[in-house]
Structures are given as C-alpha cells and as structure tokens.
C-alpha cells in the first residue's frame, strides 16, 4: 500500500516535470525563430560590377627565362588592395592553364590577400607615397609550386613586375605564406627579403 503523502509527492514531481518540458520546448522554439530571423540570406545590396580596365601582366616564360608584357582587359575594383589581388589572381590563373609557359597549379586562389602599406623607415618614401605590398600566398600554392631556382625566381619577379606595372606607387614587395614568414618559396627563392619592383624588368612584349 503506497502512503498518501508519497502519491502527492509523485504527482507534484510529475506535474513539475511536465511544466518544465513545456517551458523548455517553448524556449527552444523561440531560440530557433530568433536564429532564422538573423540568417536572412537575401541580398541587401545588388553586387557592383567593376568597370573593365586595361591591365598589364608580366608573364613568365620558363623556356627562355623571360618576363613578357601582356595587356588584358579586366574588371578591376577601385580599392587598391583588392585591385592588386585581382591582378595577381589573373596572373596565377594564366600559370594554371594547361598550356602555360610557366606552369604552376593553384590559380587565383593562390593569393589569399594583398596588403598595401607605406614604405617603412623612410620619410622621403612616405612623402612620395611609395608603398610596400605584402602578398600573402596560400600554403597550397607554395606546396604545389615546382621546385627550381629559375621557376621560383620567375614567379616572384612576375608578381613584383605586375604590381609595378599597374600600381606604380608600389615600390617594394614582401611575401608571406599563410600569414607567416617562410624561408623560401619551394626550396630556392628567398622569401625573407624585401623585393624591389624596379628589379622586375620585362624582357619582351606580346599582344594577345
């Protein structure tokens, strides 16, 4: 025989459990509604289409170790950093093409970011508006880059030359890989030093 007081306690506990279940269900539904409201994926602003501009790429050629000037029409954003990234992406896309004269896999995704900063340590340079470009390459790009003194040097010089041709105020370039300094690109070309864009001189030109 179950005592009466135990029946009362059991009933109270059962009622409390049911009430708490209801409250929790209600809270869960409210949280779910709140999340859905925050994840409104509808575009709030129409994407802007950048105007097409004439760009100059310095394209490497492994056969003779040259840098050839190629003129291209590209939609380029107004922001200089974004502009630099688009230019370098286009350059690396050329290298990723099947019949590339300087084959490097990865393409445009090989450049994670490009940061433009005033040249450090020189007041004259700051007054003249000279800038240092910090090119952040991806680890995948560096890992898949062919190893060789010539091929790595050409990649570095073509990046420097392309930046100089389109952003003349960029006088120096430094390289990072996944945001970190790295001794070399793929075993050869030194990535710890600052490159002068003036050193990347084209050796010829083509008009596609």
């Amino acid at each position: 025989m179950i005592p009466r007081y135990q029946k009362i306690v059991f009933s109270v506990l059962l009622a409390a459990a049911l009430i708490m279940t209801g409250v929790l269900w209600h809270l869960r539904q409210r949280a779910h509604q709140r999340l859905l409201a925050g994840e409104d994926s509808a575009p709030t602003k129409a994407p802007e289409i950048a105007p097409t501009e004439r760009a100059t790429l310095l394209v490497a050629n492994d056969a003779d170790g040259s840098l050839l000037v190629q003129a291209r029409s590209l939609p380029l954003p107004a922001d200089p950093s974004a502009r630099a990234r688009v230019l370098l992406g286009e350059l690396l896309d050329l290298y990723a093409a099947p019949d590339a004269a300087h084959p490097v896999t990865g393409g445009a995704s090989g450049v994670a970011q490009v940061f433009l900063l005033p040249v450090p340590g020189s007041k004259d340079a700051q007054n003249s508006g000279d800038e240092l470009a910090v090119v952040n390459l991806t680890g995948n790009f560096a890992a898949s880059h062919p190893s060789g003194l010539e091929t790595e040097t050409l990649t570095v010089l073509s990046i420097c030359g392309t930046l100089r041709a389109n952003l003349p105020h960029v006088t120096q370039v430094r390289f990072l890989v996944d945001g970190q300094q790295r001794p070399n690109l793929a075993g050869h070309a030194d990535l710890t030093r600052t490159y002068l864009t003036a050193d990347a001189v084209p050796t010829g030109g083509t008009n596609p």
Partner: protein, 232 residues
C-alpha cells in the same frame, strides 16, 4: 646584426684558421684556405632532409647536384685548382654553414649548384643585391653585394664558354640565401634539361654524359677565369 670579415686584402691568421676549424668540426670536406692558390668553392645545393626538387628520372635534386659537384671537382683539381666542397655526401648543410665554408676559403669563384626539370640548358644567376663598396667588415646577409661586379664578370666568363660549346644559357639575378651571404665572386648554376629545337628533352639534368660535358666546359672556363687579371 651578424658581420663577417671580408677576405679582400686580409690574411687569415692562424688563430682565425684554428677557430674556423673548431667552429665546424663536422664539415670534413671543408678545407683550410691555401694562400696563393686559386680556390674554387663548389656548393652542391640541398642534401639530407632537404631533398630539393624531383627530376623526371625520379631522382632528387640533392643527388644530381652532388654528382655534378663530384664531376666538376675532379676536373678542377686536375687543372691545379684548390677545390673546397660544402658537402661530399647526402648530409644536411645549413645555408649559413655553406656561406661560412666559402667565406673562409678566400676563393676566387664560388658556385652554388642546382638542378631542375623546368626550362632548358644552363641557368646562371648572380645575386640581385645592389653592388656596394668592399669594406673590412660586411653585413652577413648582404655580404655578396661587395662582390656583385666580380660575380657578374665570372658569369660572363662562364656564359661565353657555355655558349661557345653549344649550351643554351639563361642569365638572370635572384635572391638565394647561400649566395647572398658569400664574400667571394659567386653565382648559382642550375642545370636544366637539354632540349632540341622542338622543345623535347634530349638529356636530363642528371644524365652523366650531359653533366660531364657541362663540367668540362665549366672547368675550362674557370681555368680562363684564373688567368684573367684580378679586379680590386
């Protein structure tokens, strides 16, 4: 900042030679400098854990550069030159240690040897550092800048000989830590596949005959370089 004592016009004292020998006891191949001799440093790039690139034959770059260094060493020694090598086996050598060996040797030519599957012929590189005036003490990282003009002259001598012997030669400048730290006329030499007019490979960089032909040309060119009057 790290500094090195420039070898121009300075004699290596016995104490410095002793210190140099103690500093790198594991470098069995590094020899002490011989004053009055014509010394050439051969730096077979990579080695040990650092395999370098992989060639079409499946061989690693470190093996091809070592084989080329051995061939060239024999030919240079036969011509009466003192040859200092940075490695004689498959061992890891730090880029700074390579430069240390070269800088102690008071060499008239320092060659960093590489091999690649891309491009064609022989690639000759000098340091992209801007030239500077020789000084008693040179910054370690840019020691080569005081020797850039002489390095360019050395590249010119090798280029002429290679072109004369029918090699396809590419000249360029690069940033390579081992060369930038060297206080001697220095260059990086990259041996790439020999290609025919149609671009097809006729000899791989690790092909023994191809390497022997290139080594013979380089040995003759260095002998000529030895005869040239030294510039200050």
């Amino acid at each position: 900042m790290r500094w090195i004592r420039a070898s121009l016009g300075l004699n290596f004292s016995p104490w410095m030679a002793l210190l140099a020998a103690l500093a790198l006891p594991s470098m069995a191949s590094a020899q002490t400098p011989l004053t009055g001799r014509f010394a050439v440093v051969l730096d077979a790039a990579h080695g040990g854990d650092d395999t370098g690139g992989r060639l079409a034959s499946g061989q690693f770059e470190k093996a091809a550069t070592l084989a080329f260094s051995v061939r060239l060493r024999s030919l240079l020694a036969a011509r009466g030159m003192t040859v200092i090598t940075t490695r004689e086996s498959d061992m890891t050598v730090d880029p700074n240690a390579r430069a240390q060996i070269a800088n102690r040797s008071k060499a008239e030519a320092c060659l960093s040897l590489h091999a690649t599957e891309s491009g064609a012929g022989i690639h000759l590189f000098t340091s992209s550092l801007p030239p500077s005036q020789p000084a008693r003490f040179l910054p370690w990282k840019t020691a080569q800048s005081a020797f850039v003009n002489r390095s360019l002259a050395l590249v010119g001598a090798l280029n002429s000989a290679l072109l004369h012997d029918g090699f396809n030669v590419t000249l360029s400048r690069t940033a390579l830590i081992a060369v930038d730290n060297m206080a001697c006329p220095a260059l990086a030499l990259e041996i790439a596949p020999a290609r025919g007019p149609d671009g097809k490979v006729t000899a791989e960089p690790d092909d023994p005959d191809y390497q022997a032909r290139a080594a013979a040309t380089l040995a003759a060119a260095l002998l000529e370089w030895r005869m040239e009057p030294r510039q200050p």
